[in-house]
């Protein structure tokens, strides 16, 4: 099955859109892409799992790692995992990933970046 991590923008924030199965074989790609994204020092990033069709414990572990790296980098993370996407949302809920990974139900729930008042 095809897998890719695409650099996109969600709610004005730099984002990674994950397509295909996020598992032991593919999750290193997400980890790598997230690291690259965080290295630019963004205020926040989004991982969009809307088009992801499968998530296993390795994928979950990668999300946790991304959350920890984002926190360390001072970047706000949002993971979009719609409730309607059962194959992805169910393991997230079973593992209670929400305890460490900010999970939102849709891209609309990701707040727009705070306006930098000094620049206006």
């Amino acid at each position: 099955m095809h897998f890719d991590v695409e650099r996109t923008t969600v709610a004005g924030r730099p984002a990674l859109t994950v397509r295909g199965e996020l598992d032991l074989a593919t999750s290193p790609q997400l980890a790598e892409a997230a690291e690259a994204l965080l290295s630019a020092g963004p205020a926040g990033i989004v991982v969009d799992l809307t088009p992801t069709v499968f998530l296993d414990s390795s994928g979950a572990r990668t999300l946790i790692a991304v959350a920890r790296k984002a926190a360390a980098a001072g970047a706000e993370l949002h993971v979009v995992a719609p409730r309607s996407n059962r194959p992805v949302r169910l393991p997230i809920d079973l593992l209670e990933l929400g305890a460490v990974v900010p999970i939102v139900n849709s891209a609309g729930e990701v707040p727009s970046p705070a306006v930098n008042r000094d620049a206006t």
Binding site: L24, S57, R61, L94, V100
Partner: protein, 739 residues
Amino acid sequence: MTSPAAGPAPTVDDEALARCADEPIAVPGAVQPHGVLLAVREPDLAVVVASGNAADLFGGPVAGRGLDELLDPADAGRLRAGLAGDLAELNPLRVRVRAAGGEVDLVVHRADGLLVTEWEPVRGAEEAGIAWHRRLPTVLQRLAASATLDELSAVLARDVRALTGFDRVMVYRFDPEWNGEVIAEDRRADLEPFLGLWFPAGDIPAQARALYETNWMRLIPDAGYRPVPLEPATVGRRPLDLSGAMLRSVSPVHLEYLANMGVRASMSISLVDRGKLWGLIACHHYAGPHRPSYTDRTAAEFLGRTASLLLPTKVVAGDQGGVVEVAQRQAELAAVVGRTPRGLAAALTDGEVTALGLVPAAGVAVRLGGQLHLAGTTPPAERVGPLVRDLLAAGVRATDAVSRVLPAAADLAATASGVLVAEVAGGRGDYLAWFRPETLREITWGGNPYTSKTAQTDAGPRLSPRRSFDAWSETVRERSQPWLDHEVAAARSLAALLTETAANRATEDNRLATALQRTLLLEQLPEVPGVDLAARYLPSADDVVGGDWYDLVPLPGGRVSVVLGDVAGHGLAAAAITAQLRHALRAHLLRAAGPAAALDGLNEVIGALLPGELATAVVAELDPATGEVVIANAGHLPVLHATAGATEYLHEGRGPALGLLDAAGYREIRLTLAGDDRLLLVSDGLVERGRGGLSAGLDDLRAAVAGGPVTPQALADAVLAALDPPRTDDVTLLALART
């Protein structure tokens, strides 16, 4: 010869063939009449043997006379000077013979202890002239620049014809059975083309071919000539050896053959590849007798020798077509082997890069670890093993004609006329085999090669060349494209890689399996009074060690903890973590007050000792005496509770996966197992990869348990059969009931 299985039986008379093979072509005792042969003694150069036409050239008998006498003093001096050095540099010596009234090309060589001198009058010979010789460097450059064998042959045919003026010049290539194929041709426009025709091996008998390897040039200026006998007929007791003589009279059979083709004059130049006769430049003239000058013939022979030197690279280039592609596939397959720890045979037949792509073939069989996998078009599976075994027993590893080795396999010709086998060592009878289908090859013979070969003469049947020269075609059956050397080598090297890999993996597998058994799984479930427990563990097909573990921990007071856990990740690293977690949880279960506290303890262990790791676990603590069950769940799939009336997942008493939070604060759910109630604990490998994903898998599991047998052993088997999980992950299932 390429005798077709479906062709007519050869009707050549064996006796006549044997007679032809015996024909003394090197010592015919006669020469052709376009020159004179004198064999002289050294050093006085007195004539010992002379051809019968010598008197005509020299104006009188020559027997007993010396060459000093027959030549001008100046020419005689040049001859004697040349005899002291390399004779090849002397030839030809253009001399004046007074009686002949003109110039003669004198060519000498030594044979039978004599100096054989051949005298060919210049008059009557065709000269290409100086213009052509000036072009020689260009011609040589063209030969050298030709990239392919076809190009080289075409240049050769064209330039030899331009040089010698023959009506037709062909380049023949011999096949392994000595049939000749015309691979290039330059001809008078009105002549019927022979390009692509095949000439049967019998057209050039073996002793002629042997002669052609040493004597590169033959000329018959007039095929209708009358042979001129040598006098005396023998030197000592034997006829003079004429194998090196340009005037050597040829076999009457050959002359008859030429006459049948309407050829009046013929010349041939050998093409020799690394010491072995490879082909011929064959020149035919039809209009009448034709005799290129000695100089032009020498130039033509020079082109033949130059082409011969160029042959190895061109032939190799032709035979090695695809060598780069094959090498690339070889590398890709090696990578596949390297990254495929399990199920190699399947990977080599089903993956993106398969063994089928290694060499051009229609099908492949990969037998590894005793398992046969087929890809592409192959014989039926049940025939592949015996076919390969019989070929190996016959000592054949590559053939383009299986039915010749194994007549019983002729019915497989459509899929396996050609088979290439490479054995994978290791004593398991493993192998790789590639199959090529029958290639119906149309061969157009220059005349029917099987008939009209013998003619009745007074002396009994004698070989007579084919009367009819009409093209006669046949279809070669039960033959495939031949296997090239580099293809065979690539097959063997893949087999060798698999041999090595299999040996390494066997060792590694044993080690891992032992570790797995020792640390993760229970060799035998302990007997716990009042508890009936069934456990099933299926390792993943891809990876010998997954992250699942289960445990049964008897506690003080008769209670028992049943544990099922799963560490994220695979491989040895996951196995090591799994082992640590299993032992840590055991310790906490024995010490702690209940499952939730034990999981809290385990969570602290991960946070402190294994940061970044993620695991899930569920613990069910059962008191067999009362049926009371306490369950705590750390991010694991919910426990399934089946009663006589309902089968439901227990969504209470859950908490986050182990390793997520520093302090998880797990909760518990309590229930009582009554009568036939059962609990099922499963790992995600059972349910997450089915069609419809995890949630459908959980639904299927519930349905299977609701409709399944009551006893844990039967239930576990029924659930595995019903869900039939793909073996991409390891699968663990625990079924629990009271007795």
